[in-house]
């Protein structure tokens, strides 16, 4: 297997965007190509992740993106894996570059849904659940994670105020990220007094629906050495699955796919969770971040909530979690999110993270899942 590197990265701002789904994908991709210092013709294949292209009248995005980059003859794959689409897209590109099929590949993720409104998004996003058992019976994604939150509160004596701390921290980080969707400081009281969406989760426990696109350029090590001054290496890549419906899981306070993916990624990288300096994790809801940092092995089961209380996951705490602001503050354009996490790791490890720089960071991890973690991918990167 070839060693794989990330040579360049680009992202639009996340939020409510005016431009079309195609145009924002191209903006992020052109930025990634320029950041890599290559030309589009160097790209041999494209991996384009998106979930609700139908909302902006464009599915089969792969060939549309490739055509507008002037490389219409190159193969592309359009990928949907719910909120985990971006990292799955990265994984497919990684596997193909590692296998030697291509020396350079583009990964682009995008979502454009804010123009549809909350009712449309709540309803259509619920189709990402195991619809027969979940969406059909009136539960939304906030509702599914609220069910996990209540189980966690019952098992580990956590409080709603504890969950609120995650939102406060991620908003603090997002304030330092010019591309974040929700750039405002909030307090625990703000979270506690926000409208209940699905008890015990309130509006400020939830990430926003966002538009946005993120892209990265992957290549083999030889190409990186020949072309790039600033690149990072992929140390590990892991994927895993869980029962699609929450009811099929042995425990309601853990996400099995994260554990499986993390174990594979750590094994490939030859490191342990203690070696990781910072991580971008899937905090679609505040409870999710607590479950994630336990499932990834950064904290013991049931202790993630203490870590949050003690500030261990703040920027430049014991382990910086979601320096970008996470899904909560940076935003969650679902097809782009997994790629956006890798953009953050690239920026951190190549000295482009500005005010939110994680000091002396050498190793970063990303964890991105689909639905309630029915599918998950974990990647580990190091600076060169």
């Amino acid at each position: 297997m070839e060693k794989v590197c990330v040579l360049g990265a680009g992202s639009t701002k996340y939020g409510k965007l005016e431009d079309s789904i195609t145009d924002i994908t191209l903006q992020a991709s052109v930025d990634a190509i320029e950041s890599a210092g290559i030309e589009s013709k160097d790209i041999k294949a494209g991996y384009i992740s998106n979930v609700f292209g139908v909302a902006d009248k464009q599915v089969h995005l792969g060939p549309v993106v490739m055509s507008n980059l002037g490389i219409s003859d190159r193969p592309s794959l359009s990928i949907e894996s719910a909120c985990g689409s971006g990292s799955v897209s990265f994984r497919e590109a990684y596997a193909n570059v590692a296998a030697g099929f291509y020396d350079v590949a583009l990964v682009a993720g995008v979502e454009k849904v804010t123009h549809t409104g909350t009712e449309w998004t709540t309803t259509y996003f619920s189709y990402c659940s195991d619809f027969f058992y979940e969406g059909q019976s009136g539960v939304s994604f906030p509702g599914l994670f609220a069910s996990m939150a209540r189980a966690y509160m019952n098992e580990f004596k956590a409080t709603e105020e504890d969950f609120a701390q995650v939102a406060v921290k991620n908003h603090d980080n997002g304030l330092l990220n010019p591309k974040a969707h929700l750039r405002k400081k909030i307090t625990v009281d703000d979270v506690m007094s926000s409208a209940v969406v699905a008890s015990p989760l309130k509006l400020y426990d939830c990430c926003p629906f966002s538009d946005g696109a993120s892209s990265v350029i992957l290549c083999n090590e030889k190409f990186a050495k020949d072309h790039g001054a600033n690149y990072i290496e992929v140390m590990g890549s892991g994927r895993g699955g869980s029962s699609a419906a929450l009811q099929g899981r042995e425990h309601l306070t853990t996400i099995p796919s994260t554990k499986i993916a993390a174990e594979a990624a750590f094994k490939m990288a030859g490191i342990t969770p203690k070696d990781v300096d910072f991580a971008e994790v899937h905090d679609c809801f505040t409870i999710a971040e607590i479950v994630d940092i336990e499932d990834l092995g950064f904290f013991e089961k049931g202790k993630g909530v203490e870590a949050v209380r003690e500030g261990q996951t703040k920027l430049n705490g014991q382990i910086s979690i979601n320096s970008s602001g996470g899904l909560k503050s940076k935003g969650h354009p679902i097809g782009a999110t997994g790629v956006g996490q890798i953009v953050e790791v690239f920026d951190q490890l190549t000295g482009k993270a500005g005010e939110r720089t994680v000091k002396n960071a050498k190793i970063g991890l990303t964890q991105n899942f689909g639905a309630t973690g029915a599918s998950c991918a974990v990647h580990i990167f190091q600076s060169v």
């Binding site: 619920s126 058992y133 539960v139 069910s147 209540r150 699905a198 419906a245 009811q247």
Partner: protein, 121 residues
């Protein structure tokens, strides 16, 4: 009749249709085609009373399309009595968390365009 249709017919009668693996005895909901434990295909029907205890739940106040008229309502995961299986469903007329403590007894009372419908006992 597909297994899913058969499952729905049982749920309408307040029952949960499960499958017991002929090879290893592991119990799954009837909508599964291969045994999760041993990987074999081949099951005996095993009908459970759709009764159990609340494992966890949420009270929905921002509903998906079609559920506005029921809001607020609960969505509940129950641990079925006399098995390790869980089932989730829609439970109307729940206003606040005190109405539905974890461990409360709940049963399946039907299946319609709201999926599995539950009732607090």
């Amino acid at each position: 009749m597909t297994e899913k249709k058969n499952f729905i017919e049982h749920a309408k009668d307040g029952k949960i249709l499960s499958h017991k693996c002929i090879n290893c005895g592991y119990l799954s909901l009837a909508t599964v085609y291969f045994c999760k434990k041993c990987g074999k295909r081949g099951f005996d029907d095993f009908v459970l009373d759709g009764q159990g205890k609340v494992g966890t739940y949420t009270i929905m106040t921002v509903p998906p399309t079609g559920f506005e008229k029921y809001t607020p309502y609960a969505w509940v995961i129950i641990n079925l009595d006399n098995s390790d299986l869980r089932i989730s469903g829609f439970l109307p007329n729940i206003q606040k968390s005190g109405d539905l403590p974890i461990g409360a007894a709940v049963k399946v009372v039907g299946f319609d365009d709201r999926g599995i419908v539950l009732k607090k006992l």
